[in-house]
């Protein structure tokens, strides 16, 4: 059996699927031995992979493209299309993007967050609105931003999808999702924001490991799509129950990628232009195009 070491966030969304995978021994069934190494932050997994301590992490395609264009050989296999959304309170008077003008918006993930850039682009194109200039933008840590939204200090928040799902269960509604923005800006369907990321070199040396892992993870996701009971089992590590758990489950299921990888890759290439335009060199580096090979070549065949 081939060994696969994957680094994930403890209690992060990826660990739910991996827990199911382990629980039902899908790894052994597919001829691999999966070792899950937990970290406290997403950055920790990046560092760990650079340090060679693990084979695989979960991150987004833009990061992969940038690393590739700078000479690295990381590549990505799609994992989830779930992305962030702008959330407002149920009773909030904000109805469209245009209403965000002059409001206080909390943004998780910093000024170069992909969802934030897409929504900015959309606001500019459809409403001629330059959000950073016309609204009061506060960047901050995701949990803090969520808490502030509940407190009412912020009029609207853009947060990662699972924070949004929890907010939804707590009296918030979605104003606009990043996937809507992506579609409006030229994507033909949902593009995977996150994927399993690994080195080409490692994949070439261990092709069975990669394939086995992807198959096992697909089985786990199938189970999560089918079985509500499985979610009840996961409740302690999801750290949610009732309404909140249901919302998280539904959003998770919606985020499972269903399109051929080639289509996603083409859409990602298109979005890259939009992002490069608004995020500038800071975001994408000097590469004018999404780096070839960002999506694992094997999947495109």
């Amino acid at each position: 059996t081939a060994k696969v070491r994957i680094g994930v966030l403890k209690f992060g969304t990826v660990s739910w699927a991996l827990d199911t995978l382990k629980q039902h021994k899908f790894d052994a069934a597919n001829g691999i031995d999966l070792e899950i190494i937990y970290f406290a932050g997403e950055d920790a997994t990046n560092v760990a992979m650079l340090a060679g301590a693990i084979d695989m992490i979960v991150t987004d395609w833009l990061w992969v493209s940038r690393q590739r264009s700078e000479g690295s050989d990381v590549t990505l296999a799609p994992y989830s299309t779930a992305v962030g959304a702008i959330m407002v309170k149920q009773e909030s008077p904000i109805r469209t993007i245009a209403d965000l003008k002059g409001k206080k918006i909390g943004v998780a993930g910093g000024p170069l967050d992909k969802s934030w850039l897409l929504i900015q682009a959309l606001a500019r194109r459809d409403h001629g609105l330059d959000l950073p200039a016309t609204s009061d933008i506060v960047f901050g840590a995701p949990p803090l931003i969520s808490e502030k939204a509940i407190q009412g200090e912020l009029d609207a928040v853009l947060n990662f999808w699972h924070f949004c799902a929890r907010l939804e269960a707590n009296g918030f509604r979605r104003l606009v999702g990043a996937e809507d923005a992506a579609r409006a800006l030229g994507a033909s369907g949902a593009v995977s924001a996150l994927g399993y990321v690994f080195h080409d070199k490692w994949a070439n040396e261990n092709p069975d490991a990669v394939r086995g892992f992807l198959k096992a993870s697909a089985q786990a996701r199938d189970l999560l799509t089918r079985s509500d009971d499985e979610w009840l089992r996961l409740a302690p590590i999801v750290r949610a129950e009732g309404e909140e758990l249901a919302k998280l489950r539904d959003r998770y299921r919606e985020g499972i990628p269903r399109r051929p990888v080639a289509e996603e890759a083409a859409d990602a290439g298109r979005l890259y232009h939009v992002l490069a335009e608004i995020g500038g060199e800071k975001l994408v580096g000097s590469a004018p195009e999404m780096a070839p090979g960002t999506f694992w070549q094997e999947l495109l065949k």
């Binding site: 406290a40 340090a51 301590a53 949990p143």
Partner: protein, 275 residues
Amino acid sequence: MTTPDTGDRMRGAAADMSGQPSPATALIPVLTVALSLFGLCLLWAFAANAWQSRAFPGPGKVWQVLLREAASGDLFYHLGATLSRVAAAYVVAMVIGSVIGVLLGSYRGADRFFSPWVILFLNIPALVVIVLAYIWFGLNEAAAIGAVAVNKIPNVVVTMREGARALDPSYAEMAAVYRFGPLDRIRHVLLPQLQPYLAAASRSGIALIWKIVLVVELLGRSNGVGVQIYVNFQLFDVAAILAYTLAFVAVMLVIELLLVQPVEQHATRWRRRPA
């Protein structure tokens, strides 16, 4: 020129200066600490009541979490991992930092040359050092502890350098005349003069190290209080964060009260107590 008796009369305040300290006197420190902690809890409970918020649980709530984590064994596992990292990094940082600091404080030329380096290392963010250490030396304990030590060493250097600069040369001269050996010089001449600086560097040092260990754990370890705190931050479970924090603080408090303070009192018993 004399004034009527407006009396500059003074009375001594000697009560019972003689005799052994009574058992009641010996109890005072223990009682003070108990009172102090009790006061703190009271204040906390009061504040938590006033600003009721999920972000600021009261002592009762935190205590429950603490018990739960202790019962599951998680608390001791993570606390143990963190404590051993803190201890290792502390020893490394204090030894290396003190030696460098005293040397820089003693040799003006060396100090002039290296002082920009000290400023540089003092101000490099922990993040940078930790990431570089992990990348170069791998994701292992040695890299983690080394990174913490490198972060802390410049602080120790800066404090001990001031201590070395403030040394009274007459003691060193006396030691030179009477041909004290190098060990005697360090033990009987140098260290007692540096004691307040060592105490300051140690106390704020261990606190700083623990804070950096949290970051180190966050960036590349799978166990330890840092991981727990950050994970609970993602879930915004402030009670759990406080529970882990307080567990560490409790350990520090016990060390301080049972070890550091008695040692310190013994080391400074020669000081003339201000009347």
